[in-house]
Amino acid sequence: MSVGKKAVGSVANYMDERVGAAKWMKKTLNKVFPDHWSFMLGEIVMYSFVILLLTGTFLTFWYDPSMRIVEYEGSYEPLKGIEMSAAYASSLEISFDVRGGLLMRQIHHWAALLFLAAMVAHLLRVFFTGAFRKPRELNWIIGVGLLTLGIVEGFLGYSLPDDLLSGTGVRIAEAIMQAIPVVGSYISYFVFGGAFPGYIFIPRIYIVHVLLIPGIFLALITAHVMLVWYQKHTQYPGPGRTEKNVVGYPMLPVYAAKAGGFFFIVFGFTAFLGAVAQINPIWVYGPYTPAQIGAGSQPDWYMGWLDGLVRMAPPLETYIFGVTISWNILIPGLIIPGILFTLMALYPFIESWITGDKREHHLLDRPRNNPNRTAIGAMSLTFVLVTLINGGNDLLATNFDLSINQIMWFTRIGVFVLPPIAFVVTKRICLALQRHDREMLLHGRETGRLVMLPHGEFIEVHEPLSPEKAFLLSSHEQLPALTAPEEDSRGVALPRGLRNKLRARWSSANAEQIDKPTADELKEIEHH
């Protein structure tokens, strides 16, 4: 014990005399982190990233990023003697001739799927609880950047093995490039070093996949986490928690042990998946050739919604003044995703413009207390879900014995009809939940206990809420709608009249609430 203490002491002394970090470290080790399961979603993203770096480095020791044609000589019998790219041959080598290679490849793929799934879950948590509000707008934008890069990185990753499925994905990416007005075919020829598929695409995306994007990831994730650190984590509302404090466990030892332990749990989980759940069996697909394809060609899930959009696009193309404009590719492949990601990045600013709220927020919202935002989230999710369904329409059709044409028409119509329905329904549910909270505050909790009164009447006994619960249900603030004048006092339209009208309308929709009980109402109840 004393030996250990002495060792720690001398290391600490050595470091402090050289970098003077004692003061900072002391503060850091006592830093407080609020505890909630939903705060672990972002952690999963970070840990999967570390897993991806570790397993990915292992894969690079054998992977040969070359499109040189070789004859396969490895131990997988069905492909022996077949001509293929060195990239595909080395991916087969990793899968069949390197001990643990298949395991590492599968952990890498599973970790990539988890990386993006956790990122999306984390984004939804941040969105629905309003954690993106001032002062955290910048971190929201970094997050949107990370998501965009993550999708690109994942796509490049499953393109590297150069199997039939991945080559088909690359072909589709090339078609999207070609569809870009004016410069499309030039971009495609620059990216592929000439005609598709060429000989240089794999080496190029290899360096982007293993160096360029991971480097940007490292920088952005660092910035993201440093901002969380510096601004301190948000916390859920509840007794004792205010905008001015942060309640939780200190960094050392509880938070460090939990977070460190959680890294191993995530790694163990992906290792388990890599061991028992086959993913991307590249040897089944065969080497890429542009003249062949497998039925049921599917991208990974995070690209599925894009593919679904492309599938449902109407066959629109314009030929005018000697040029061809492929609306059937441009709209679903570039314009809609561009609009969606831009709106997502700008959402914090749009919301604060609508509410006129420029204050700092560190207490999270319960989703029901901001019905409009929750409904917008549900609407966007529904949109993505409908497109994702169409992205898997061929698999749905074969597995559930449905007509692919019917699924296509269902989603073509559904993509317009279902999101607004989701908006309205979600908003109603939120308001109903608010009404329920109000009921609970005014009349207490239903106990389910029926009592017969002396004169024969049955009543259900209601119990008053605990002070903690009552505080939780009543502590949120309800902002009134903004009123922006369209005309000045003499009835002359103001220059920004239309803008103000729009803002006022959105603001009043946003402020639609079930009034929480006032102190007077609550007092009155007490006297019953």
Binding site: R171, A195, P239, G268, I293, V310, V323, T324, S474, S475
Partner: protein, 329 residues
């Protein structure tokens, strides 16, 4: 609004865990944590055993999973156990034995103090003034010019990433008289080789000894389909491009370039598995469903003196996905 109708009751009182008060419970928790760590150690031993003890090609049948490689499976399970239980041990330790008092830290507003903000502005202005940024406009403008121009250099350097497309996208290897050969096999085809209802993938014949690249295949791949001639619903010109009920289409989808590989014999429809564009073979691959806006290009075919199928003429339009300069008249 910000007025809270109910007073904040403050943090709930701290409830002791059993291990906090009962030494026996604490001892038990300690043993639980230790056995979790031990399980992890056993996992590593399993991992080592799998690496050296299970042959590389040992197969194993498991219900649900099916036949799987035992070597990789037990490597993975060993790794999973060793990692997972380190994590479980650490978390269990934190939850049962480490202090679980919630701590309150005070937040301060992100915005700096007014005097600091003023001081910063003043410093920036003073330093700017000493550098003469506001005064020396010539320096400012030329600096802006050079910084703007220097960005051109790296962009220009990217020029050699690839050649310009030129007319490349409009051309294929098919010329008048090019023989159709099987893929794979490179055998020339007689009409009698194809029965009614048959479909074949063909490529242009190449000089023996020369090499056919993927770039060529990406443009030249052809689908040959034979139906009964009276089933065609074509204009006279397109009908003259067929031969005894044999019709040839580019196999590269006119939507996004996937291989249009699914042919339904009964309906005579071609379906692209990528985005489900569906083409009617009897009507010159007219799009009847899906996102593609154009039929598959049709190659005019006939037979040569020896009776082998040849191209009568090159494609009269670009194959594959659309691009800006494409002549789609």
């Amino acid at each position: 609004m910000s007025l809270q109708p109910i007073q904040d009751p403050g943090l709930p009182t701290h409830v002791h865990r059993r291990a906090d008060t009962d030494p026996i419970a604490a001892k038990r928790a300690e043993r639980q944590v230790a056995s979790l760590f031990l399980t992890s150690a056993l996992g590593t031993i399993l991992f080592i055993y799998a690496y050296v003890g299970i042959p590389r090609d040992q197969l194993l049948f498991l219900p649900v999973i099916g036949t799987t490689n035992a070597h990789e499976l037990f490597l993975g399970l060993g790794l999973a156990i060793s990692l997972f239980f380190i994590g479980m041990g650490a978390v269990h330790w934190a939850k049962t034995l480490m202090p679980n008092h919630e701590v309150i830290e005070i937040r301060k507003e992100q915005r700096s103090k007014e005097e600091d903000r003023q001081a910063l502005i003043q410093t920036v202005q003073e330093q700017g003034a000493t550098a003469g940024l506001g005064r020396r406009t010539l320096i400012k403008r030329t600096l802006g010019l050079s910084l703007g121009l220097v960005g051109i250099a790296p962009i220009l350097l990217l020029r050699d990433l690839g050649p310009l497309p030129g007319n490349d996208l409009n051309e294929t290897s098919w010329k008048a008289g090019t023989r159709l050969v099987t893929d794979p096999g490179d055998r020339p085809i007689r009409p009698s080789d194809l029965e009614v209802g048959a479909v074949a993938q063909v490529l242009p014949a190449i000089v023996p000894g020369s090499y056919r690249s993927l770039n060529d295949i990406a443009k030249d791949a052809l689908l040959l389909i034979r139906i009964r001639p009276e089933e065609f619903n074509l204009d006279a010109e397109r009908l003259s491009w067929t031969y005894q009920g044999i019709i040839a289409f580019s196999k590269i989808c006119s939507h996004m370039g996937c291989a249009v590989a699914l042919y339904e014999q009964t309906t005579k429809h071609l379906l692209c598995p990528c985005h489900q564009s569906t083409f009617d073979v009897t009507r010159a691959a007219k799009v009847i469903f899906g996102p593609s806006a154009r039929p598959l290009p049709q190659l005019p075919i006939t037979v040569d003196a020896e009776g082998y199928l040849i191209a009568k003429a090159p494609f009269n339009e670009a194959v594959g996905p659309s691009f800006w300069g494409r002549d789609s008249a």
